[in-house]
């Protein structure tokens, strides 16, 4: 909310510099986010008077104005249609720096030399009103600087208010904090109304159908107003708050709203349609046109002001088009009401409108200030519009709000804040904030009805703290809490996975978790999707149900940026619709992928990545966590290529899938190069991790290495050969490693050559060569028998 700095000084009688006002308010919770000088675009701008207007040859949109600025008379080219002889206008002279970055220099327009410009409000940075030049009040002195003439050396303070502080949404509200900080009281604006003998109640009665929704409704009549512009002193406060002056009637209601925080509405009494106000819920399907010209179809969620038969306003949000104040208006029906915050919240949501009024009502205005606000407005109608204020106010206030009593125990305040504030100081602060305080322990406080946010002791403690300043609370210098801080297994596990993967050269990616339902269907149509009811955009309408879903766009993004060689992993969640208990379902997963070429170097040439690179990454993890031997079963995964996709299980527990991305699926995600990926369930893997290795004594007896090469059918798995060797050798084969695998010219079709290195060793004794030879022969026999292996010549 924007408020004029001068206005705050006026209300508090302070003379603090603007920075002090802004800083002190910020440090009490009324955060001033920006300070803008009203005069920032008024340097070298003076009051001028238009003396003459001539057409310019060959131009129909611009004219040549002769303008006096006191010291001289100059010719100024002007394109505004509303310029006229005799007007007082703002004239920007050489060196003026206008809004939008325009600096006034000597220029030639259509052959006419011009070194000044007649300005609109927009060009002076006051509003976005570009409609024409700004016609100033006639009594200004020609030649005077505009800032002086307008008494406009002000600052606009822009406050970012917290939603609990409805009371701050007015000049008085902010001034109240300022006054409390300075220890002064507010100069409340006054009024002196000459009430007519004719009564408002002769013209209007007020009935409220739903008194929970509308707690108070005041109405009064002002007759014989003359519509015209409002005076500059009033306009400039509206302009500072970003409200465009319209006419005296509308400006006065806006002005009192800014001053008091109570929204007001002025109806044209003659267009109101009856002498009765009825506040009721809208009928289902009722049509209503707000004064912005938009037609709405209503439900009972919307609270309506009616004339008994027809709606004339959406209560607390916006008036109706039909009863709006017009240039011809002479008689006014003035409404100041109190509406329930949650009712207004629903109303304005239904209407899709946020207005100055709705913003205040939905946070909570002061119902007990309605009459004061009405009086202030009536006074201004009398003074500025020549209105005759009828006697009395029709005030329907079925359940008056009484100030709440909340007590503050000084000891409790000191204990919560950890600061030694005195009870006297607490009372002083609360008193300055206009609480009625009495007693000393507890301090009994009557909470003013503009402070809806104060309901219990802690709220008073906060008031004391924020006005005294958080700097007055010392920082504790001891640490407290439980004696021991555990690190949980799950967190350690995730850290370790991350460490192992990055050590192996994999980069960690991080997904935002949202995805597109269509992408999910392209990947795995059968997997349930958790739908977002109010997506921010169409392409982020579900939560990812697989990490692959968010990884493929990452691959595509990188390829599009010519990062073709990727080794990536992600630790994150996949999300599914709620289970029967109603709780959301989430699964922690690990995704690993490789694509493009291996990193390579100048010495080891890169080669295309494949499945076995991926397997290597997983073996690193297996080694680190001592997972049991995995088994790979051919699986049908829609997005993996048939024959190259496997379900991984460890000790019968399903742990995930791995394989080659199906090229057709890849193309749907704009990926045209082979991708190999694995998605694993972290909970299964954590459960199988062995965090307790047991020491194996280092060997003391010599090893007997033997190589073995064989030709077997291509369908035989190397893992099975190795398992068989281990099994036949019993405990004597300390390692069996594949060192060569070959298919090609020298090997018959459908066969492969497999060479393994076996290291025989016993932990208990030296093996004799006969013993080793015997084992080797047993192994050979078993391989021949089981795999029909053709053993090739011994390597030695």
């Amino acid at each position: 909310m924007k408020i004029s700095y001068q206005w705050l000084l006026e209300l508090t009688g302070l003379d603090w510099p603007v920075d002090q006002v802004a800083d002190r308010l910020t440090l009490c919770g009324t955060a001033c986010e920006d300070i803008v000088s009203t005069a920032r675009h008024m340097k070298n701008v003076v009051v001028g008077e238009v003396r003459d207007l001539k057409p310019i040859e060959g131009a129909d949109k611009i004219r040549l104005a002769t303008v006096s600025i006191g010291s001289e008379t100059m010719d100024v080219v002007c394109g505004a249609p509303n310029v006229a002889v005799g007007q007082k206008v703002p004239v920007a002279t050489l060196g003026a720096e206008l809004a939008g970055g325009l600096t006034i220099k000597k220029t030639k327009i259509r052959g006419v030399e011009s070194s000044a410009m007649i300005c609109s409000q927009a060009e002076l940075g006051l509003s976005d009103d570009h409609a024409g030049i700004w016609v100033l009040e006639a009594d200004l002195t020609v030649g005077e600087s505009l800032v002086t003439a307008l008494d406009y050396d002000d600052y606009i303070l822009d406050f970012e208010l917290t939603p609990n502080r409805a009371d701050s949404m007015s000049a008085i509200g902010i001034a109240r904090d300022l006054a409390a900080l300075a220890g002064v009281r507010i100069n409340y604006p006054t009024y002196a109304i000459n009430e007519d003998t004719e009564l408002s109640s002769d013209h209007v009665s007020v009935a409220i159908q739903d008194t929970d929704a509308c707690g108070r409704f005041t109405a009064r009549v002002i007759k014989g107003v003359t519509i015209g512009p409002s005076p500059w002193w009033l306009q400039k406060k509206l302009i500072a708050s970003g409200i465009r002056p319209i006419s005296n009637i509308v400006d006065i209601t806006n002005y009192i709203l800014l001053e008091t925080g109570n929204p007001l509405h002025a109806f044209d009494l003659d267009l109101f349609g009856s002498n009765q106000v009825l506040v009721r819920r809208a009928h289902d399907g009722e049509k209503f046109t707000t004064l912005d010209g938009k037609e709405h179809t209503l439900t009972p969620d919307v609270l309506m002001i009616t004339n008994g038969t027809e709606s004339v306003g959406a209560g607390g949000v916006m008036g109706g088009l039909d009863s709006e104040v017009k240039d011809s208006t002479t008689n006014i029906l003035l409404e100041v009401a109190y509406f329930d915050p949650s009712v207004i919240r629903k109303s304005r949501r239904h209407l899709g409108l946020v207005t100055e009024a709705s913003q205040r009502f939905e946070k909570g205005v002061d119902p007990n200030n309605a009459v004061h606000a009405s009086n202030r407005a009536a006074y201004l109608f009398q003074e500025l519009c020549g209105g005759k204020v009828l006697g009395g106010i029709v005030d329907n206030y079925p359940k008056p709000f009484a100030p709440r009593q909340v007590n503050l125990r000084p000891d409790r305040c000191r204990a919560i804040l950890g600061a030694e504030f005195s009870a006297g100081r607490m009372k002083e602060i609360l008193g300055n904030l206009e609480f009625e305080v009495s007693g000393s322990d507890p301090i009994e406080c009557l909470v003013p009805t503009f402070r809806h946010d104060i309901t219990r002791e802690i709220d008073l403690i906060e008031e004391v703290a924020r006005i005294e300043g958080y700097d007055a609370i010392d920082d504790a210098d001891i640490n407290s809490g439980p004696l021991f801080t555990p690190i949980h297994l799950e967190d350690r596990f995730i850290d370790d996975v991350r460490r192992v993967m990055t050590s192996a050269g994999y980069d960690e990616m991080l997904g935002h978790g949202l995805a597109h339902s269509k992408d999910a269907a392209r990947l795995e149509a059968d997997v349930p999707q958790l739908k977002i009811i109010n997506p921010v955009s169409e392409d982020l309408d579900i939560m990812r149900n697989s990490l692959v879903l968010s990884a493929l766009p990452v691959v595509a993004h990188n390829i599009a940026h010519r990062n073709l060689d990727l080794q990536l992993f992600e630790i994150g969640k996949a999300y599914f619709p709620p289970d029967n208990s109603g709780a959301g379902r989430e699964e922690d997963r690990l995704l690993v992928l490789v694509t493009g070429s291996t990193p390579g170097s100048w010495r080891d040439k890169p080669r295309p990545c494949d499945f076995h690179d991926l397997a290597g990454a997983l073996e690193n993890l297996r080694g680190h966590f001592r997972w049991p031997q995995p088994s790979f079963e051919p699986a049908t995964v829609p997005y993996l290529e048939t024959g190259q996709s496997f379900a991984i299980s460890l000790e019968g527990r399903s742990a995930g899938v791995m394989g080659a991305l199906d090229p057709a699926t890849g193309r749907k995600f704009d990926i045209k190069q082979p991708v190999f990926l694995a998605e694993l369930q972290l909970s299964s893997l954590l459960a199988l991790s062995d965090r307790q290795p047991v020491f194996t004594p280092l060997p003391i007896y010599p090893a007997a290495p033997r190589d073995l090469a064989m030709i077997v059918s291509e369908s035989v798995r190397v893992g099975d050969i190795i398992d068989e060797i281990r099994s036949v050798a019993g405990g004597l084969a300390e390692s069996v490693e594949l060192f060569d695998l070959y298919t090609g010219k020298q090997i018959p079709k459908g066969k492969k050559s497999v060479a393994v290195a076996i290291s025989y060793r016993s932990p208990e004794r030296s093996l004799s060569s006969e013993e080793v030879e015997q084992k080797q022969q047993d192994v050979i026999a078993a391989l021949k028998q089981k795999f029909n292996a053709d053993i090739r010549d011994k390597q030695e």
Partner: protein, 337 residues
């Protein structure tokens, strides 16, 4: 000159020459000259047969000793040459080979560092679900239904009357129910807000919340712990500013600014010329929150704070577009090895 004297002289001369040889080639020439078939040592050995038997044995032994000694010295000298030659041929500027390491995602790096810093102060890590109930995300945290405070947190709703948690504070509500005081916990993790994606906002971000509940916890304790954190994380000599603010689940509430670590408070683009950077929100846990969890708020008090990880990461590394964090372009990721 006797043969014995000749041998001594020969040895001195040969050793001196070996010592001053300046290349492997000249060393080879010397070797041929001294130990070759036509060399002096060979000549002596060949002449042994013409010597009287009493001298033959002695001279023979000396000549043979000389031969072995020279051979050894030649070999030694040659090896020295080979070693220097090989060392000189290495280009140390060639890129090293072997496995490169990967980068932990910068958001996780920052989140881990925040967690480690708080762990050092005795905070235990706890996690909770990302898909939350209205109760834990809002109600239990003193957001009444249909309250303007809910507008502060643009919420994604998902099927089953659930929400994507808008902060990690629901974990606080869950832990309050699950444990007994004293408890001192941080809750790092992913959160979601229904915001248009732009350079400054994203649908997802990460947060580290923390809280302490015990008897006699005060706002002074909160200030102490956050000052200690900021100094440990951002560096000593840092100034902090606690500004009153509003969060439904804390009261009194504060936002904490630190003086800009780039310009040290002078004013720069990073701090938008204010000299200050807003880095976290905090406050005393609202008694309504403690009471909802079944605590006697007269007996137990607590503080809580919340830190936006992306914001800290962006400030710390001068990252100007939050979307870079989620695009996962490896050129970006690898800048944070």
């Amino acid at each position: 000159m006797s043969l014995a004297e000749e041998i001594v002289q020969l040895e001195e001369e040969a050793l001196e020459r070996i010592g001053s040889a300046d290349s492997l080639d000249s060393l080879g020439e010397l070797k041929v000259r001294y130990l070759g078939r036509k060399g002096p040592v060979m000549a002596i050995l060949k002449s042994l047969g013409q010597l009287p038997p009493d001298q033959r044995k002695e001279i023979g032994a000396r000549a043979n000793a000389l031969r072995s000694k020279l051979e050894a010295r030649f070999e030694e000298a040659a090896r020295a040459f080979e070693e220097t030659t090989e060392a000189a041929s290495i280009d140390p500027t060639l890129p090293g080979t072997g496995n490169r390491i990967g980068a932990v995602h910068v958001v996780n790096q920052v989140m881990d560092e925040i967690c480690r810093t708080f762990y050092g102060m005795g905070f235990e890590i706890a996690h909770g679900p990302h898909v939350e109930t209205d109760h834990y995300n809002f109600e239990a945290l003193n957001f009444p239904p249909d309250h303007p405070a809910r507008d502060m947190q643009d919420t994604f709703f998902v099927e089953g009357d659930l929400v994507l948690r808008t902060h990690t504070t629901p974990v606080q509500a869950r832990e309050l129910e699950r444990r007994q005081p004293p408890m001192k916990i941080i809750t790092p993790g992913k959160t979601f807000r229904n915001e248009e994606i732009s350079t400054r906002a994203h649908v997802s971000f990460h947060q580290v919340d923390g809280f302490l509940v015990d008897e006699g916890v005060s706002m002074a304790d909160l200030k102490g712990v956050l000052v200690a954190f900021c100094k440990a994380f951002f560096g000593e000599g840092l100034k902090l500013k606690f500004r009153p603010s509003f969060f439904p689940f804390t009261e009194p509430s504060a936002e904490v600014d630190i003086n800009c670590f780039l310009c040290r408070g002078e004013g720069c683009q990073l701090c938008k010329y204010s000299g200050w950077l807003e880095i976290l929100g905090c406050g005393m846990i609202h008694p309504n929150v403690l009471e909802t969890a079944g605590y006697d708020a007269e007996k137990y008090t607590g503080y809580a704070f919340g830190i936006g990880v992306e914001r800290i990461a962006m400030l710390k590394y001068h990252i100007n577009d939050i979307r870079l964090l989620f695009n996962n372009n490896v050129r970006f990721l690898r800048q944070f090895l």
